[in-house]
Subunit: 135 residues, 6 copies
């Protein structure tokens, strides 16, 4: 079993905010992350696939193919977008990095042609990282 990881980046705006909370509650819980005028990040996304290398190619999965799958199903929907209002697979959930990582897992889990999705890692800043493994 080899774990292969493709790293991609995207730039997006978002806002942490729960419509069930009052403005004061949102402000208290989410702080500056609930700014109604939005803020944004350069997200770093790492997609990990686990599988056995094909003896003919030495590849678990051609990483160029993995790159295209991530591009088509994730990056086109999040890069230079507003995650709260524009990304179909995030709309309606609070776009905490935890929830965005889980949402990306759900999008990709049945799109991996060889090997299995093992982990979605997402960092929001250089000091905060999040990982979801489907557990």
């Amino acid at each position: 079993m080899v774990y292969i990881t493709r790293r991609e980046t995207f730039a997006a705006s978002h806002r942490l905010f729960n419509p069930k909370f009052s403005d004061e509650q949102n402000e208290r819980i989410f702080g500056k992350c609930s700014n109604p005028n939005w803020h944004g990040h350069n997200y770093v996304l790492e997609i990990v696939v686990a599988g056995r290398p094909n003896p003919e190619t030495g590849f678990v999965l051609n990483i160029a193919e993995l790159k295209e799958i991530i591009e088509q199903h994730v990056l086109t929907k999040v890069d230079h977008k507003n995650l709260n209002v524009e990304t179909d697979f995030i709309k309606g959930i609070i776009p905490s990095t935890e929830n965005v990582a889980i949402a990306i897992w759900k999008v990709l889990v049945d799109k991996i042609p060889s090997g299995k999705l093992y982990s979605v890692k997402l960092s929001e800043t250089e000091n905060n990282f999040f990982e979801y493994r489907g557990e």
Copy 2:
């Protein structure tokens, strides 16, 4: 002369857009950066001050003091903000990274208590860097 650099980061949303242009022109010139729903970045800011070390302290400028000056005059106005609509020293200009670097220079140039502001470096993504030296 020693050049001392303080590195800080901030997360902001913005949009590239010139109100004198039509939507089509904005889209053609600024591409995905003109998304009306905003996008955002983790900006990396480096402030460079040049001066001679004080023989009593070995410091051009106490870097803790430089950090506070950047915090007070820049970071409180850009971190987790929308640069187009919330940052007083950017409002009304197109927030290209070039223009934001120049705007930060203007804010800081007369706030450096010892030594002289030498350079403002600002990166928008890990592949795009911008520098302004007041020239």
Copy 3:
């Protein structure tokens, strides 16, 4: 289950040295790391907490709260300190990075208000990393 990681840094001095060994033995085993005049590092600390996101907030644990817990219980005791002589939870043990990581685990394991401490990662230089998961 989402794994959230907070990255912090601290600068400390230390010395590897076992009082049961002779000076020659300390020198042979620990080499330049046993310098009696101390040396130091910029340590990079990553604290990983595992848990399920709260549906109201999208957070496993507010990472600002995690940051404060690390600050209060760890950073105030190690940053700009001598690990051998000043840090209460390290004094009396050999401050190898392995042992420091285990000591930080013990300090934090019962301080996490939501989710569970999963891993303490500590790097001493850009080429040496250490991880303890409580096993």
Copy 4:
């Protein structure tokens, strides 16, 4: 159990190519990586050993000793080499990063004097990482 990691780098040339395939098949499957004139990378290698710290030293394994083992058994055979034609433990296999990681595992697995080899991580570019844990 502590996981200790030593990071090393090496620069090598290689070519992805299966002699059972026609030139067209090699080109279609491996793309620019099958260039008959070779290309190369700065590989980043991380060797992870798991074990319990020795109470006398605080070390799972002296990382200086681990460095020497990697140097002697791996780096001297891959650094500034052509992996396809010069590296005895890679010759005859397709040098995909997956396969190189597995080959390095096989070389090192019985050379670790204390603790056990836990993982071989190898990155080929800043966006592609591979890990093998002997499973």
Copy 5:
């Protein structure tokens, strides 16, 4: 005047070798870098352009356009290539990083549509950097 930098990477093989030298001389001067079977690197290229932002766009030069110019004139000729035998603008010169940086300068200096080429920075490994400013 703003200095804008675009960072790109490429992977290539090469060999340091002067045909006027004997094999022994090449070996003595270039060491392992003269391996006749080639070795390779992930080069990091930074292209710096200096100019004044256009008041209509805020851009010195649209960095997407700069990216395309680098792609077309440099990357297609060096990425996954053998610099000694395949790159037209390097063939016949010793491909030291110094010489490759100068060669890239000569290729790009008259291709910048707005602003002026200010610097070509090229790193060969994470510890060796080279810069040429046309002086």
Copy 6:
């Protein structure tokens, strides 16, 4: 003219402290950096040499030779040392990063066999950088 840079790292302990000041003054000016029990850093040192490539070798200066010069004259005196009490070329000056950079310049300026020393860059943490160019 090409600028070549060699990056090295070292780990050292130090203390900021002026013997002419009272303890209170040292504490007020240098804060936690004046801890009498020392603290330490992983310093990153970049030595920049400017010169013209030798047409026979393509090198301004063989970077392996530059590495050895830095090793012999600087690293052996600072790595795993206490800068205040053990480093001959620093003893007696306040080891601010500004002053250490200037001291390293003075050590190296007449040791460069080809080209000229252009800059000494020294970083103390990932957010604080210092550069001296002999001006």
